[in-house]
Amino acid sequence: MARMKFLCDAERCIECNGCVTACKQENEVPWGVNRRRVVTLNDGIPGERSISVACMHCSDAPCMAVCPVDCFYRTDEGVVLHDKDLCIGCGYCFYACPFGAPQFPQAGAFGLRGKMDKCTFCAGGPEKDNSKEEYAKYGSNRLAQGKLPACAEMCSTKALLGGDSDIISDIYRQRVLKRGKGSEVWGWGTAYGKPDNPQAKPPQGAKS
């Protein structure tokens, strides 16, 4: 199997926030923490585009590189996860992440940060699969149930695709060929571009 990836089709996203709601509900994400959110570019101007943003589970994840306690790991399927028992809530990953994925619940007075929380691709974390402990710390482990992330499966317009990169890129390719426009995939260059390749640049958005 190829790597697990997210792909957001800006041509299709209608900013319904269904993915945000699905994520919140599936993982019981606390108030103040948003693992996924919808960002609208050029809001109110004709040609505006909306994109659903969460952790992209980067090939060369900057969060992994900067973590001082090395609490991040990558699974065989390419999902970037972390161990909350080790996280010290320093916030380095938040500064390093190009997508603003790491979230920090308030853990006390004076803005004290709790342990980092982020999208897990609905793959749980380093606890027994589908256990109470895993659910409490990381949320649902849908991959271990043979399911895909709730946000992608719940998307009403199928703008947000999630799963095996070979398959979702095939689906997207077929779509682009049918409609004849909108081939730019937002965030893929940043998340999955080769780090040693200086030519890898994020695509210029909102052209179509």
Binding site: M1, V69, D70, L86, G146, K147, L148, L161, I167, R175
Partner: protein, 84 residues
């Protein structure tokens, strides 16, 4: 012979007692660039029947079966194949 056995026994008891006084590292020693947390299990090392509303089927530990199940589930995101 008896004295030697006694000495050996005393040395063994002393070694066991002294080992209790050993000082172990109380904090995690981090190795830069290496994951320091708990190991995670593989998603296919589960019984799919234990989850609610699961359509995917595979046997525990069958990686290929899990991948096939997930691939077919992935195709449900392609409405062109569903509509045509």
């Amino acid at each position: 012979m008896r004295t030697r056995f006694g000495l050996l026994f005393a040395a063994l008891v002393a070694a066991v007692l002294v080992s209790g006084c050993g000082e172990r590292e109380q904090v995690v020693v981090y190795k830069q660039g290496k994951y320091q947390g708990k190991p995670d299990s593989k998603p296919w090392d589960n019984d799919p029947g234990s989850a609610l509303y699961t359509t995917s089927k595979w046997t525990r530990g069958d990686k290929t079966g899990w991948e096939t199940a997930l691939r077919s589930r992935n195709q449900s995101q392609n409405e062109y194949t569903r509509a045509e």
